[in-house]
C-alpha cells in the first residue's frame, strides 16, 4: 500500500473507476461476458478505495495530496487543468462515495441479476463513481463543473435505465431538465468567477475573490464589486438547489425513483444529491467572506440567509409530503429532500462550524439513507411479482418473512428519526444546536453569539431552528409509519404472504451499512473528530452538545414515533375479518383540504407546469409576433417595394419612341445646363470660355 501513497495513488483515485467504467461499457457494447462487469467495477472501486486510504491527509494540516495536469491551454497561457486535490473535506467525501458505491455495486450483483443491460448498468455505476470522485477532488472550477455535469448525465442514464418504460424515460428527462435550470446559474457563477480571477484554479479564485470583497478594483464591467460578492454565491447556489433537490427545484428527485433501487440509494440519496451541499461546503470561504475581522459582510449575510431559508423550506415541505406517500421509495425520496434541507440549513449557519456540521449530517445521512433505500429495494425485490411492488398498501407483516431486512431497516429508521445512540441523532442535534446558537435566542441552555456574526442573520437562524425541531417530529412520524406499514401487522397481499428473504449479497450490504448507521454518528462526534479533522480548528461553543437540545429533539422524535405507533399498530381490516376490504391508511383521516394539498405535493409541480406553460406561451407569442410582422414583413415588404417600383418604372416604358427621344433630348439639355451652372459656380468656365472665344473670333 506504500506505493499507492503519492501521485500514483492520487491518479488511481480518478483513473481506477474511470477504467472500470470503460471496461464495463465495452462489455455492454460487445454484449459478451456481461457477468464479468461487476467483478471489474467492484475491484476498480476497491482499488480506488485503497488509494484513498493510502493518501489520507494527516490531521495536522499541510500534508495534502495535490497533483494536476494541464488539460487545455487557451491563448496566452490561460490554463485549464485536471487534478486531484485531496484535502480533508475531499477525503471524507471520497470515503463516503467509494464505500457506498462499493456496497451498492455488491448489492446490485444480486438485485440486477438477469436484467438485460447488466454490464451497461455496472458501467454506468462506475462512470458515476469516477465523475463523483472527480467532482470531489477537483482543484479547479472547470473540472468541478465538468464532473458536475457528468454526474448529471449518469443520473439521467440510470434513472432511464429501464428506458422502455415511458414513466422512466419521462423521469430521466425531467431530472435532466430540472437540474439544468439550476446549472445555468451555476455555469454563470463559474464563468463570472473565472473572468474576475483570470483562472479556474480554486486557490487563485479564492485570492481574487477576497481582493474583490476587500474593495479592490472593479473586477467585471457592469457588475460592481458589492454586487459581485453576493451575486456569485447566489448563482452558484442555484446549481446546488438543482443538484441537491432544494425547493423549488426538488420536483425531479421523487420521479427519479423510476430508476433501479440501488441507483436511488447511491445517487439519489447518498452521494450525487449531496454534491450541491458539498459544493457549498467546499466554497464556504465565498459564502462567509469577512470584510473586517469576524464581522461578515452584508453580501455574505444575503447569501447565507438564502441558503438557510431555502434549506428550511425544503426540509419542511419534504417532510410534510413524505407523510402522505404510499410508494415506499417516494417516502424515502421526500425524506431525502427533507434531510438535504437540514444540510443546507447547517451550511447557512456559516463559517467552519456550518461546513463541518453539514458534512457531518451528510456523512451519517449517506449511510443510513443508503441503508434505507437498499432495505426498500430488498422488500421490492421480494415482491417483484406483484403489480405494484413499491406500494406500501400491498405490504405488511414482512417482519417474520424478512428478518434481516426488517432489522436493518429498523436501524435505518431509528437513525433517520434521530434517537440515541443512532447516527442521525448526533448529526441532527448538531445541526439544531448550531442553528439555536446562531439564533441567539438563548433557549434550551444555549448562549447566543449574535454579537459576532458568523453566519446567517439571527432571525433567519431562529426560523431554521424552529423548522428543524418541527421537521424532527414529522420525520419521526413518517419514518415510523414506513416501517410499521411495511413490516408490522399482517400481510395485505398474496405476494407479501409468500415473500422470502433476499440473497446474501443484498443482506451483506444491508448489514455492512447498518453498522455505520449505528456507530458513525457517535464516532465522528466524539471529541469533535470530524470538525477538528476538517477544519483543523478546535470546536467552539457552537458545536457543544447540549442536553437541552438532545432531550427536546429526542422527545419530539419519541412523540412522532408513539403517534405513528398508536395509529398503525391496530390490526389491519383484513386481519380483523374484513377480508377483501382495502386497507385505509390512518393519515387519510387528516382534514380533507390538508390531505389534498399534501397529496398534490404542495402544487409545486403544477406551479412549474403552469409557470412553464405560461412563460413559454408568452415568449412564443412575442416570437411569433416578431416572426410574422418583422421577419415576414421584411420579406414581403421587399417584394412589394420591388413590385411598386417596377409598376412606376414600367409605366414610363410606354413603347412610344417619341417619348424616349424626348427624354433623351431633355436629358441632354439638362446636362448641358447643369454643366454650365457648375462652371459658373466654380468659376472655371473652360468649355464656356472656349465656346465664347470661338464665337467672338
Amino acid at each position: 500500500m506504500g506505493s499507492l501513497s503519492g501521485p500514483l495513488g492520487l491518479w488511481l483515485l480518478l483513473a481506477a473507476p474511470a477504467a472500470g467504467a470503460a471496461v464495463g461499457l465495452c462489455l455492454a457494447i460487445v454484449r459478451r461476458s456481461e457477468r464479468l462487469a461487476p467483478a471489474v467495477t467492484l475491484s476498480a472501486t476497491a482499488l480506488a478505495g485503497l488509494a484513498a486510504l493510502a493518501n489520507r491527509p494527516s490531521r495536522s494540516a499541510g500534508v495534502l495530496g495535490d497533483v494536476d495536469l494541464t488539460w487545455l491551454t487557451i491563448g496566452d497561457g490561460f490554463r485549464i487543468s485536471v487534478g486531484v486535490h485531496l484535502d480533508h473535506l475531499a477525503w471524507v467525501m471520497v470515503g463516503v462515495v467509494l464505500s457506498v458505491s462499493f456496497l451498492v455495486q455488491l448489492y446490485s450483483v444480486a438485485y440486477m441479476k438477469g436484467e438485460t443491460g447488466y454490464a451497461r448498468y455496472f458501467g454506468y455505476l462506475a462512470l458515476f463513481t469516477a465523475s463523483m470522485v472527480g467532482l470531489v477532488v477537483a482543484d479547479n472550477l472547470m473540472q468541478l463543473y465538468a464532473c458536475w455535469e457528468l454526474v448529471g448525465i449518469c443520473s439521467y442514464l440510470l434513472i432511464g435505465f429501464w428506458w422502455h418504460k415511458p414513466s422512466a424515460a419521462a423521469a430521466s428527462k425531467k431530472a435532466f431538465v430540472v437540474t439544468r435550470f439550476g446549472d445555468v446559474g451555476f455555469l454563470l457563477g463559474v464563468l463570472l468567477l473565472a473572468t474576475a480571477a483570470g483562472s479556474f484554479d480554486l486557490e487563485i479564485v479564492q485570492q481574487a475573490y477576497r481582493e474583490i470583497g476587500a474593495g479592490g478594483p472593479q473586477a467585471i464591467g457592469l457588475v460592481s464589486n458589492q454586487a459581485f460578492v453576493w451575486l456569485v454565491p447566489i448563482l452558484l447556489l442555484c446549481g446546488a438547489v438543482g443538484k441537491s433537490a432544494q425547493f423549488p427545484l426538488h420536483i425531479w428527485l421523487p420521479d427519479a425513483m423510476e430508476g433501479p433501487t440501488p441507483v436511488s440509494a447511491l445517487i439519489h440519496a447518498a452521494t450525487m444529491v449531496a454534491a450541491g451541499v458539498y459544493m457549498v461546503a467546499r466554497l464556504m470561504w465565498m459564502f462567509t467572506l469577512s470584510s473586517s475581522g469576524m464581522e461578515l459582510s452584508a453580501a455574505s449575510a444575503i447569501a447565507l440567509n438564502t441558503v438557510l431559508l431555502l434549506g428550511a423550506a425544503t426540509a419542511f415541505i419534504g417532510a410534510t409530503i413524505a407523510i402522505v406517500q404510499y410508494d415506499i421509495k417516494k417516502v424515502l425520496a421526500y425524506s431525502t429532500i427533507s434531510q438535504l434541507g437540514f444540510m443546507m440549513m447547517a451550511l447557512g449557519a456559516g463559517s467552519a462550524s456550518g461546513q463541518s456540521t453539514a458534512t457531518y449530517h451528510l456523512v451519517t445521512h449517506a449511510f443510513f439513507k443508503a441503508l434505507l433505500f437498499l432495505a426498500a429495494g430488498s422488500v421490492i425485490h421480494a415482491l417483484h411479482h406483484s403489480a405494484d411492488p413499491n406500494d406500501m398498501r400491498g405490504m405488511g407483516g414482512l417482519w417474520k418473512r424478512m428478518p434481516v431486512t426488517a432489522l436493518t431497516c429498523g436501524i435505518g429508521i431509528l437513525a433517520l428519526v434521530g434517537l440515541p445512540p443512532f447516527a442521525g441523532f448526533w448529526s441532527k442535534d448538531a445541526v439544531i444546536g448550531l442553528l439555536l446558537h446562531r439564533s441567539g435566542m438563548g433557549i434550551l441552555g444555549i448562549g447566543g453569539d449574535a454579537h459576532a456574526r458568523m453566519g446567517a442573520d439571527p432571525w433567519v437562524a431562529s426560523i431554521g431552528a424552529v423548522v428543524a425541531l418541527v421537521v424532527t417530529l414529522l420525520t419521526a412520524f413518517y419514518a415510523t409509519r414506513l416501517w410499521l406499514a411495511v413490516f408490522a401487522g399482517s400481510p395485505r397481499s398474496k405476494d407479501a404472504e409468500t415473500a422470502t428473504e433476499s440473497p446474501w449479497p443484498i443482506t451483506t450490504a444491508l448489514v455492512a451499512l447498518a453498522i455505520p448507521s449505528v456507530g458513525v454518528g457517535w464516532w465522528l462526534h466524539h471529541h469533535h473528530l470530524l470538525h477538528t479533522y476538517l477544519t483543523g480548528l478546535r470546536a467552539g461553543e457552537d458545536l457543544e452538545m447540549h442536553m437541552g437540545v438532545a432531550l427536546t429533539a429526542t422527545a419530539l422524535g419519541l412523540v412522532g414515533v408513539v403517534a405513528a405507533w398508536l395509529l398503525y399498530r391496530s390490526p389491519s381490516p383484513r386481519q380483523a375479518g374484513q377480508a377483501g376490504s382495502v386497507w385505509t391508511d390512518p393519515v387519510e383521516r387528516m382534514p380533507r383540504p390538508l390531505l389534498t394539498f399534501l397529496t398534490n405535493l404542495w402544487y409545486v409541480d403544477r406551479l412549474w407546469v403552469w409557470v412553464g406553460a405560461r412563460a413559454a406561451m408568452a415568449v412564443a407569442r412575442v416570437v411569433a409576433w416578431f416572426d410574422r410582422s418583422v421577419v415576414d414583413g421584411a420579406v414581403r415588404g421587399s417584394g412589394r417595394v420591388v413590385a411598386a417600383v417596377g409598376g412606376v418604372m414600367g409605366r414610363s416604358s410606354s413603347g412610344q419612341t417619341q417619348t424616349y427621344a424626348a427624354l433623351v433630348i431633355g436629358g441632354t439639355v439638362a446636362l448641358i445646363i447643369l454643366l454650365a451652372l457648375y462652371e459658373t459656380a466654380t468659376g472655371s468656365g473652360q468649355s464656356a470660355a472656349a465656346f465664347g472665344m470661338a464665337v467672338t473670333r
Binding site: S652, S653, S654, G655, Q656, T657, Q658, A662, A694, V695
Partner: protein, 102 residues
C-alpha cells in the same frame, strides 16, 4: 457682316425645327424628314466652325461627307422600315405602334 453667330443661329433653328418635328409628328415619314433636318443642322455647324476657326483643317469636310452618306443610307433604310411597319400594322401612326411597352 455675316459672322459665325449667324450661321450658328440658322443651325440651331434648323436643329430646333427638326427636333420639334421628330418629337411631335405622328407620321413616321415626317419624323424621318425631321431627323434629316437635324442632321443638316449639324453639317451646317461643322462647316461654319471650319470656316471661321481653322480653315486649313480638313476634318469638318470629312465629317460632313460621312454625315451626308450616312443620312442617305439612313433615309433608304428608314423608308424600308416604315414600309415594313405599314405592312405589319396597317398604319404609320407612331402613337398606334407601341408594342414594346412595359
Amino acid at each position: 457682316m455675316i459672322g459665325l453667330p449667324h450661321y450658328l443661329l440658322v443651325g440651331s433653328a434648323l436643329f430646333g425645327i427638326g427636333a420639334f418635328g421628330a418629337l411631335t409628328r405622328r407620321n413616321a415619314i415626317a419624323v424621318l424628314l425631321s431627323v434629316e433636318l437635324m442632321l443638316n443642322a449639324a453639317n451646317l455647324n461643322f462647316l461654319a466652325f471650319w470656316r471661321f476657326l481653322d480653315a486649313t483643317a480638313m476634318e469638318a469636310h470629312v465629317f460632313v461627307l460621312i454625315g451626308l452618306t450616312v443620312a442617305a443610307a439612313e433615309a433608304a433604310l428608314g423608308l424600308a422600315i416604315v414600309l415594313n411597319v405599314y405592312r405589319e400594322f396597317g398604319t404609320v401612326n407612331l402613337d398606334e405602334i407601341a408594342e414594346l411597352r412595359g
